[in-house]
Amino acid sequence: MGRTTGAILTGAPHLVAVLPAVVTTLVAWDRLPAEMASRFAADGTVVDTMPRAAMLVAAILLGVVMSAVFAAIGGRSPAAPVSSVDTMRFFGLVSWATAGILGTVLLSAVLANVDAPDAAAAELPMSRLLVALGVAAVAGAVGYLVTPRSPVAPPQPAAEAIAVAPGELVSWSGRVESRASLALGAVLVVAGLAAAWPAGPLVGALLVAVGLAVLLLGSSALVTVDRRGLVVSLGVLGWPRLRVPADDIASVTTGDVSPAQFGGWGYRIVPGGSGVVLRRGPALIVTRRSGRRFTVTVDDARTAAGLLVGLGHRVS
């Protein structure tokens, strides 16, 4: 199963999902009001409207963008397992389930407009959301089943313990930096400042705040291994911190991982695991006593792993 197939399997559902809405809009063009109802309140009445053509373009764009995002997650090369659960199949499930919701909601919205004299006459009962959830559940199950098992990289030789003498004080630390986060943060801040004029100060301030958060928290991390276990201090401030106490560590490995396994960059939580993933490549992977794994991408992860193993053997 190649990378292309993987990318298609997780990316295509959204393109397929918007098709019914798009086709219906085109076929029933003359039976739709020029100004279509686009948002509905909980009681089914219309909240907001949109021109027919804009509605069509929005549906197509949604499909394309969501497809691209999920395709990027799907197409990936062999990597070390970062969770007891196959995260690739999990994202297959998420992709198909969200596609199911998207497709059902879009189609229901278009159908609600067909033959309506004007937008205000359209009605979309809340029960359609239940239908969408049902479709999502079925699609998610199918997505999980059709997604092939992740290609697993050949296991790295187990980390060789670094012998730690009784009474010896040890500390390993490594810093990992993310240029992608720096660039993204900077772009968001600039975009926020630029958007403040046309889109209003609230949107601008929000973008700037998110941009600053990405810059401060996501641009770097300090990884420390010592007698206490593993600590990852996020960002320039070194806070917040993620800890795995020494007595909670069942085993330690290293391996090459990819942000796609976590569905993106940053502090990520996936079923069966979590991680601080600021780049692709070498990572330290610890398995907790509960079986959950914690992954952090960092250079010289083998030394870090060796020290954790050595500290575990030490009689103190």
């Binding site: 670094i162 730690v164 003498a165 009474g167 010896e168 004080l169 040890v170 500390s171 390993w172 630390s173 490594g174 810093r175 300090l222 420390t224 010592d226 007698r227 206490r228 201090s233 070194g238 010289d300 030394t303 020290l307």
Partner: protein, 119 residues
Amino acid sequence: MLFRVDPARPVPLADQIAACVRRGIADGTVRPGERLPPARELASSLDVSIHTVLAGYQHLRDEGMIELRRGRGATVREGLRADRAAVLDLVHDLVAAARRIDLDDEELVELVRHAASGP
């Protein structure tokens, strides 16, 4: 980078911390421009006093290996050559070896000067 120190050894802890950095630079695990762990973090990680770590970092600054700046912490000097760190490491080993045999510091310096002026 890996710090390992042992309070049971006769060498002061600050010197042991400095030696870890020197060796790291010498063997290439620590690169020019790289930031050393903040003194406070390293102190709590090793379970030593922050003054011990700062004393170790100051040794390294005095040797021209790192720069200490308020707010930016300790960074390995840009353009520092790994072999310079290796030579400095040898110097410290030499001094330690001389002290073990109770060789006078003046005598050691004289011996080094003599060796350096030789062919």
